[in-house]
Amino acid sequence: MRLSLNSRISAITALLPALLVMLVVYIGATGWTVWMSLTNSRMLPNNNFVGLRQYEMLFGNDRWITSVHNIVIYGVLFVSLALSIGFLLAVAIDQRVRAEDTIRSIYLYPYSMSFVVTGLVWQWLLNPTLGIQHVLRSWGFEGATFDWIVRPETAIYCLVIAGVWQASGLVMAIMLAGLRGVDEEIWKATRVDGLPKWRVYVSIIIPMMGASFATAAVLLSTGVVRLYDLSVAMTNGGPGIASEVPAKFVMDHLFERANIGLATAAATTMLITVIAVVAPYFYWRTRKGEMR
């Protein structure tokens, strides 16, 4: 259809804000951040090119190494636990249970709450003096210990517990949509074939749900890289630097430690990681789109 000149101009002006945001904010800002990571900027940005010096310093920095170490632990555990718990919850709900809507609401409501709220609640629950440990001991399990949040080697697992609690409902919602999309006649066919239910899920349903798993996994993993609020609210990186995460490293070095070069090097590293996760996903989606 031929567009009149007027409408064509209108359409282009309507897209100007988006274009501006893309160019200035996303591409421009990203470019500047990458550039700053190659300079020795401290308090204020400068243009003294120092090559990859900041990256050398970054990967010699204990706090950064701890952060990376933590985010790997968190990422692997959080994604795999949230995926499997979310899937199991969806399967349970899909068995035509009673009060389905209520149950689904209960599983999903944590996702409506902020990471700050999530972090503070779990900080309180995991508090060794008055929290769950205290409850267990008052029930007669005298030797019960659940003080992960104050022990450096386990603090990161507390973030996992809280994160999984918050995000499993999201996975459940995505998976349930996928399960509900399975043709009713496939289920009938499996019953005629006499397949046990677990076998149907393992051999037929899960392979069919590739797209749901990929969507959920990508969504969860981008959440992993962004992890900041939860760490700030729940442990503030502590005890010591035991539960520091990369996003927090960037923020602290930008706004408190005035080390812009190092912070932007860390941010650029995060950027590369995200691209490494997202690019294959988009490639896969586009290829799938072309095959149809």
Binding site: M1, S10, P17, P45, L88, V117, H134, V274
Partner: protein, 297 residues
């Protein structure tokens, strides 16, 4: 058939409650408890006096429920140096929320409309880029944006944070509306064109009225998203406009001396209240919002 000779199971007229069903309901019950536990603990803790919290059990119901902690959290809890309660944060969050939601939906729907129905050259590239950058963590953009805003003189202000929320809401909002408009029958658009309607007329008179369900979804998505934001508010809103989440964290985590867990939990619940109301009030719409926002690209 090999099964021909085998005896068949006796009549089981009701297959409602087999052992497997019992197991299923047990699983659902236990997991539901896990998800509800924090909410329950928040509520009971906020209703107990400190003495009871120190001596009693985390899970026990309050012996003498009182809303003192709620009053204190609302009016006089200390966020750093000032002690005016979380109501300041609540009002700040509202002032940030309303314009941010309205403007981000306007810009997003207009962009989505232009990208779905009007074949603008380069539109697909713009959209594709938008979907990719939506995954990039804020830390990558934050410092340059701070510099840009201080250069333009806006600095940290209400206007800044509203613009920031519009910017970072743009990819999701665009996606939402683009996909919705693309799912409408294209004949509708063609008929309007034949009737001589222009770009903005079609947008305002035909498309937006039809997009009511998407607007509801967008409002839910943006309201919970912006209300729950921490990092953007912290960096861009400025000292006088800090949103509720930031104030809450200050109340809980920068307390000097003994911590008042009941006040902390009351403040936490107050902060979670709006998203919870939106969530429980909107029912399936919330799920729809997640589904629509989740399928990036």
């Amino acid at each position: 058939m090999t099964a021909a000779a085998q005896p068949l199971p006796a009549a089981r007229r009701s297959k409602r409650m087999t052992p497997a069903r019992w197991g299923l309901y047990a699983f659902i019950f236990i997991t539901a408890l896990y998800f509800l536990l924090p909410l329950y603990v928040m509520v009971v803790t906020s209703l107990k006096p400190m003495a009871e919290i120190r001596q009693g059990n985390l899970l026990a119901l309050p012996v003498a429920p009182s809303i003192d902690a709620w009053v204190k959290a609302w009016t006089s809890a200390c966020t750093g140096l000032t002690c005016q309660g979380i109501k300041i944060g609540f009002l700040n969050s509202l002032r940030i929320l309303v314009p941010s939601v309205v403007i981000s939906i306007l810009v997003g729907s207009l962009t989505g409309y232009a990208l779905s129905l009007w074949r603008v050259r380069g539109g697909n590239i713009l959209f594709g880029t938008m979907m990719v950058v939506a995954f990039i963590p804020y830390q990558v953009f934050i410092y340059p944006l701070v510099r840009v805003f201080s250069f333009t003189g806006l600095g940290q202000s209400l206007l800044t944070i509203v613009i920031i929320h519009t910017i970072f809401g743009l990819p999701t909002m665009t996606l939402l509306f683009r996909n919705y408009f693309a799912s409408l029958p294209v004949e509708l658009f063609k008929a309007a064109r034949v009737d001589g309607a222009g770009f903005y007329q079609i947008y305002a008179r035909i498309m937006m009225p039809m997009a009511t369900p998407m607007i509801v979804v967008a409002v839910i998505l943006q309201t919970t998203g912006i209300w729950n934001d921490f990092i953007l508010g912290l960096v861009f809103a400025g000292r006088d406009n800090l949103p509720m989440t930031v104030q809450l964290n200050n109340i809980v985590n920068s307390t000097q001396g003994e911590r008042a867990y009941n006040v902390d939990m009351a403040a936490t619940l107050l902060t979670a209240l709006l998203p919870l109301v939106v969530y429980f009030g909107s029912g399936r719409w919330f799920v729809r919002g997640i589904a629509a926002g989740a399928v990036k690209g």
